[in-house]
Amino acid sequence: MKPFVFALKRQPDQRLDLAPLVPHLIAGKSAAEIAAIQLQTTREKLTAGDIFEIEHGDAQSIRFEGGSERFDNVGHGLKSGSIVVNGNAGKAIARFMSGGSVTVTGSVGPFAGSALSGGILEIEGDAGDFLGAPINGEMEGMSGGFIFVRGSAGERAGDRLRRGTIVIEGGAGDYPGSRMIAGTLIVLGSSGALPGYLMRRGTIVLARPPAIAPTFVDCGVHQLTFARVFARLLEPQSAGAAELLLRPLRRLAGDTAALGKGEVFFPA
């Protein structure tokens, strides 16, 4: 079946909340019902029909033709199916996603993949700050699934990461992997200051590490079997990550200021 297409008519003046436009919420709705879904975040009412030319199709396969950095909550709580954004997206794309896939051809705002628990989020451009991170008072970040960023990510990528794998093929801002609870963060470009600050457990692999905090202690150079396994599993999605994981890597254990059972790897 052909995909369900939302083609952007014009850039919106206000931020839009696209959380309602996910497969499980539009399935079974008529064209008129979908066009009437309200997406505004200010007192100025804006419906899906005001913003998009809507082309009915398979609700399990949604395409946004034309994006905007004002598109918030794209793919919110996605359970299955796929969403493709041909363009940019705003805050918190794929937040609370538990399955399926979200792909963005452009760049996205902060909190992409926040509290994501399953499925695959792929960002072909750049991601903003707090990739996969919790919002406001939440205690846990991403807890499963995969995020691939082909460009770069902002500060605190993988903050409070609890489970799951993040691969950033470009660079990362300051504090990559801050407060990590567990999980895996791989950065192929350069990294900002103090990776793994306050991390309890988990694995950070950095191709080009900055100076690391003194509460990470050297545990020598190794080629560990788990890295070989991860390399093999990641190869189809990120050849660069696979290549990095297969190199001899220095292991630093930390953050000893916190629990200290995490690790930062970088090429020896």
Partner: protein
């Protein structure tokens, strides 16, 4: 405006009425039927139940710790619905608090733990709770000034003057004491604190502090007896503490807060059992003692307590795992989120303990309906609790979802009592008014404040109490069909016991010397509160 509530069933235990009758309201008061006059507003209440507005004597709805809880847990109270009245759907806000209380037919609510140095904030918050009247109990018993008076063996009147001056400055309705000496001892690294443990540096015991405050409240003729949150809250086996505390009252008036949290034995495989039956018996035999329950319900909540020692110890079971532990000038407090779960043995015993107390304490005039909001459960669960009290079947159904071995550690299964509406009205209207010396509230007699709740009887008791058919506050119809129609703002009730003004100079010197600030920083000037004439005095006895 003359209002007629026509033909409802009036349930008014104070005036010993339970009958179909008309009720007339004018100028905010209940009046005798005015012969020959035509009402401006008439409501046909055939088949409805009419009671006085309910009074909640113990609910943490304002003040520093409550507000910290709001800020601690933004993820738990996201609003989702457009407001009909300003902020009415803002979860956990003062506005929502007033709305929900009013919708349930509550018209007066007491915030039972305001630290003197946070009184202004507490009153600012109370002032922003619409519709209901409210009041604050002022927390004493861990403050350096009082402990120093006791250590130095100062006179009974010095203590009473200090209590009265503080209460007056803070605009309180009564005195609360929370783990007397425990918060102070915690600053010296005590991790437990019993009734006869002594506060380091001061050499006074918890018992001495309680008895001194109890004496002061009695001497000042403050209606509400000392409201005591005693030692060892929440700890298995703590029924011995509660029983000893009842003894320690020596026959003088004492209110024991959220007794449920003290009704635990330590029997069985889990070292946790219900001792509620024994405790209820002790309460039945002590006519000087009043209690409120602090019922637990199975829900996510956040515990907010000035018992900083207990909250520190409880922080390891926080869910979500974050907490604020505040060593304040005296008590401080702790904010610890908590999730009561049906499948938890301990939580199930706690739930049953509360209901046992409700069922086994015989005198509804000495037993008050609370969840210690939000510590046992949010006050939004009240309608569900009414249903449990009024229906044995509802209790059996709830029990069937709990671990059997937990229920077996309680007597709840064997209890058949069911509350009737008259008893509900005593517990939630008549008795609280008597406790607080609010002679014109809690009943429907002529001259009473026209705080009136009208309910539609329903097989679903919870539904009946969640959405009142009509609610009048001071004769103003504020709730229709369970929804607040407009805002008005009530008063904060206070007492103004007399005292020797010499204490004020002494306090000024104390603040200047110890804290390096002037004592009037803690004043609550009424012109800084958002509504005119924010206070209403309640007479001392």
């Amino acid at each position: 405006m003359l209002i007629l509530l026509k033909g409802g069933r009036l349930i008014d235990p104070v005036n010993q009425r339970d009958e179909i009758a008309d009720l007339w309201i004018e100028n905010g008061r209940i009046i005798s039927p005015p012969p020959g006059r035509i009402p401006d507003q008439a409501h046909d209440l055939a088949g409805k139940i009419v009671m006085a507005g309910a009074i909640d004597i113990h609910s943490h709805i304002a003040g520093g710790n409550v507000n910290t809880a709001r800020l601690l847990l933004p993820e738990m109270h996201r609003a989702m619905r457009e407001a009909e009245l300003p902020f009415s759907t803002a979860k956990w806000s003062t506005f929502e608090t007033g709305n929900i209380y009013a919708q349930m037919g509550f018209t007066t609510v007491i915030e039972p733990a305001v630290a003197p140095d946070h009184a202004l904030q507490a009153h600012l918050e109370l002032a922003d709770i619409p519709i209901i009247d409210k009041a604050a109990l002022i927390v004493l018993g861990n403050d350096d000034f009082l402990l120093s008076l006791l250590r130095d063996g100062e006179s009974r009147s010095a203590v009473a003057d200090y209590v009265a001056a503080t209460l007056t400055t803070a605009n309180g309705l009564g005195v609360k004491c929370i783990n007397a000496g425990g918060a102070a001892a915690f600053k010296y690294n005590a991790r437990t604190f019993e009734l006869d443990d002594v506060v380091p540096h001061y050499g006074v015991s918890s018992r001495q502090i309680v008895q001194a405050l109890q004496q002061a409240v009695e001497d000042l003729k403050i209606p509400h007896p000392l409201c005591l949150h005693t030692n060892n809250l929440g700890i298995p086996g703590n029924v011995t503490t509660a029983l000893a505390t009842i003894e320690a009252a020596r026959g003088k008036p004492l209110h024991l807060a959220h007794l449920q949290f003290y009704s635990y034995g330590d029997e069985g495989d889990h070292g946790m059992s219900s001792a509620a039956a024994a405790l209820a018996e002790a309460v039945n035999k002590a006519p000087n003692v009043t209690v409120d329950v602090g019922q637990v319900m199975f829900k996510q909540t956040v515990t907010i307590s000035s018992d900083v020692l207990r909250q520190f110890n409880g922080a390891s079971s926080a869910k979500p795992r974050k907490s604020v532990i505040f060593d304040g000038d005296a008590n401080g407090g702790g904010i610890v989120p908590y999730l009561y779960q049906e499948n938890s043995f301990i939580n199930a015993v706690q739930w049953a303990c509360g209901l046992e107390l409700f069922m086994l304490i015989e005198d509804p005039w000495r037993l008050f309906f609370t969840t210690d909001h939000p510590n046992g459960a949010p006050f939004t669960t009240y309608p569900d609790i009414f249903a449990l009290l009024m229906s044995r079947d509802a209790r059996a159904q709830a029990m069937s979802r709990l671990p059997e071995d937990a229920v077996a550690m309680t007597t709840l299964n064997s209890i058949t009592r069911e509350y009737d509406l008259n008893e509900i009205a005593i517990m939630t209207r008549a008795a609280p008014a008597r406790l607080l010396n609010l002679k014109d509230r809690g009943h429907l007699g002529v001259g009473a404040v026209a705080d009136v709740a009208v309910y539609s009887p329903d097989k679903d008791i919870s539904k009946m109490f969640r959405f009142a058919h009509l609610v009048f506050k001071d004769g103003d119809l504020v709730v229709r069909d369970g929804r607040v129609t407009h805002y008005r703002f009530g008063k904060a009730l206070t007492v103004r016991p007399g005292f020797d003004k010499a204490i004020e100079q002494r306090l000024a010197r104390y603040f200047d010397h110890h804290f390096g600030v002037t004592d009037n920083l803690f004043a609550v000037p009424s012109h800084l509160l958002p509504h005119d004439e924010p206070f209403q005095e309640v007479a001392c006895q």
